[in-house]
């Protein structure tokens, strides 16, 4: 199904939280079995070079976890992560370092993601400096260049983060990531904390950088409007599983999975005035105790008996359009 080489690829990756090695107490049956969260459950993800992939889904469905797995910040419980076509697990220390540099992350909270006690030039240049991308003499120029590229005035490089506005801080975060010359940016809710006018500026910056540097993006957001605007392809997650993926027009034009449909229906739009909102039915299940079968069945208007027992597989339903729903089998 893939033609272009993958910048990052996840194969049957799972991440479980709260697992622990069974200790003496467990063996004696004294300890309570650990509560395991299956944050990411057998996910395949392929991000081609130069592609922008949007990742959507409701809160707690495992988007951030997936992003961290892709950025190498978390090790998968199962499955494998490939960067530049090679498995992380097979790499030696140097290659792994290079791979980690290739994939950088932009964080949601522009306040928490900058160390309040470091100056901007240190924040931006530290990694480049200690990884030998630049020497002491060239440091200042290098930092200035990175800042300029992220749309910041280099004259401010000796300031501390608290002296900047939210939008500027987000730019510092971007400059920091760019300073190690990555090829892939994982943006986890990178604009969620910003208000509309600033959000527009940052989104524009992302698009400019994509053009200038040929960057690849994994763009995580729950704002469908933003994802629609930016992405080439969209992946929809529900409770740790990918339930649908398709090129952006295809997905927004012809959503296949009932969950995707519900999601799109609720997106507030400028055009929809004096709407009458309706309550959703069913409860949002907890990732600690996901329902059996298709995770969405308690909320699904089309649920069938089969949905309660058998988890549907992702299946191609159109060109580059995959969906995991039993309804597709029937037709």
């Amino acid at each position: 199904m893939t033609e272009t080489p993958a910048a990052i690829e996840l194969r049957q990756v799972s991440k479980r939280f709260g697992e622990r090695k069974p200790g003496l107490l467990d063996r004696l049956g004294l300890a309570r079995p650990p509560a395991v969260t299956r944050a990411v459950d057998h996910v395949d993800l392929h991000v081609a070079e130069g592609e922008v992939v949007g990742l959507v889904g409701e809160s707690g469905c495992g988007k951030s976890t997936l992003g961290r797995l892709a950025a190498g910040l978390l090790a998968p419980s199962d499955g494998e992560v490939l960067v530049g076509g090679r498995r992380m697990a097979d790499m030696d220390a140097r290659q792994r370092h290079a791979a980690r540099m290739r994939v950088q992350m932009i964080f949601q909270d522009p306040y928490a993601s900058l160390n309040p006690r470091m100056r901007v030039d240190e924040i931006v240049g530290e990694a480049a400096r200690i990884h030998g991308l630049v020497d002491a003499a060239g440091f200042d120029d290098y930092v200035c260049a990175q800042m300029r590229r992220a749309g910041l005035d280099p004259a401010l490089r000796h300031r501390y983060p608290h002296q900047f506005s939210g939008g500027q801080r987000q730019r510092i975060g971007i400059a920091r990531a760019l300073a190690v010359q990555p090829q892939v940016l994982v943006c986890d809710e990178a604009v969620a904390a910003l208000d509309v006018s600033i959000q527009a500026q940052i989104l524009n910056l992302f698009m400019d950088l994509r053009q200038a540097l040929g960057l690849t993006y994994l763009f995580i957001s729950h704002d469908l409007g933003v994802v629609e605007h930016l992405s080439d392809r969209v992946v929809v997650m529900y409770l740790g599983r990918v339930i649908e993926t398709a090129p952006v027009e295809e997905l927004f034009g012809r959503p296949n999975h009932p969950y995707t449909q519900a999601l799109l229906a609720e997106v507030p739009r400028m055009g929809a005035r004096h709407k009458t909102y309706s309550a959703i039915q069913g409860e949002i299940p907890s990732p600690l105790h996901p329902p059996p079968g298709c995770h969405f069945h308690p909320r699904c208007p089309h649920a069938m008996p089969r949905c309660k027992v058998e988890a549907p597989q992702l299946k191609g339903i159109a060109i580059r359009h995959l969906s995991a729903c039993h309804l597709n089998d029937g037709s």
């Binding site: 107490l25 004294l30 300890a31 309570r32």
Partner: protein, 324 residues
């Protein structure tokens, strides 16, 4: 819960074992109890007999093993000085220290919390500033100094309260307690105040800091937005959240108060365990020291358990599993 409890107990056991080893080695370094204990004019034969009787002729590791063996059979040794089982001795004295420590803590809470609350709610009020400055005094005056001042003022000067000792006691749950009698309370008051001084300052400052931390929280504003009376906002919403860190600190403080009431006990001639341990250290009465520390550690463990459970009661967010 069971697992957590077992883990805690196992850890405590390790701590106890470690501590006994350290105490054995440490006391060995300080001096030979023989030199202090055995009368100066005791002849060589007698001396050897006594040393052998106390088991001090054995190499240290053997003495330790003998102790461990005894401990496993529930016997922590017999005091060199008093010739009484060390545990008996400690349990005789501990109630006095316990009631002193608890009284001190109660005073600290009864005085410190309201004052701290006031200082936290009205940080700019002159009285608050005075309280804060005053609390530093509570921190910085040495206990022994304050103790004597209290005696001078309230016993010698005004003659209101007795200067020393424990008053009338009542037998309760197999121990002597002085709080059920008026005379007992009168004797308890001064030393308890003395011991509580530091703690009162601590509680006051802690309460103030916590109140100042909780006050700007959104939920306090929300409580006010519900139209609740300021009284209820403070007493239910603010105080409840303030208490949680306080409980942790106080739990630890009670432990250290029990362990370190030495100075107060010595000034007020309070027949507690602190005085006993000080005397025992001076006499290198190892069985008492070791037994005392074992008891104190057990007390600490119990207290920590209680604190954790209280914590859980006060703060539903804490899960015991996570606390281990």
């Amino acid at each position: 819960m069971t697992g957590w409890l077992l883990r805690r107990l196992a850890q405590a056991a390790v701590v106890v074992v470690l501590m006994t080893i350290i105490v054995f080695a440490g006391l060995h370094a300080i001096g030979n109890p023989v030199d202090i204990l055995i009368g100066q004019d005791v002849d060589q034969v007698e001396r050897a007999r006594i040393i052998a009787e106390l088991g001090l002729d054995q190499p240290l590791w053997r003495q330790y093993l003998a102790f461990v063996n005894g401990a496993l059979h529930g016997n922590l040794g017999t005091s060199f000085v008093y010739n009484v089982p060390a545990v008996t001795l400690i349990l005789q004295r501990l109630p006095a220290t316990l009631e002193l420590a608890i009284a001190a803590l109660l005073i600290a809470v009864a005085v410190g919390v309201p004052l701290g609350l006031f200082a936290g709610l009205f940080p700019e009020h002159p009285l608050s500033k005075l309280l804060m400055a005053g609390s530093i005094v509570g921190f910085s005056l040495p206990t022994f100094w304050v103790g004597l001042m209290l005696i001078m003022a309230f016993s010698v000067g005004l003659g209101w309260l007795p200067a020393s000792g424990r008053g009338e006691t009542v037998q309760l749950l197999g121990a002597q307690w002085s709080w059920p009698t008026l005379d007992g309370l009168r004797h308890l008051l001064l030393p308890a105040i003395n011991l509580s001084l530091f703690k009162t300052s601590l509680v006051m400052r802690l309460t103030r800091a916590n109140v100042r931390e909780v006050m700007p929280m959104e939920f306090v504003k929300f409580a006010r937005a519900k139209g609740l009376s300021p009284m209820r906002v403070v007493l239910v919403h603010v105080l409840r959240n303030t208490l949680i860190p306080l409980v942790t600190v106080l739990g630890l403080e009670l432990g250290s108060t029990i362990a370190f009431a030495v100075v107060t006990e010595s000034i007020f001639a309070w027949p507690g365990a602190g005085k006993l341990i000080l005397d025992s250290i001076n006499a290198l009465d190892r069985p008492v020291i070791v037994a005392y520390l074992v008891v104190v550690v057990c007390l600490f463990v119990t207290l920590n358990l209680i604190v954790d459970i209280l914590y859980k009661v006060l703060d539903p967010r804490v899960r015991l599993e996570g606390a281990a």
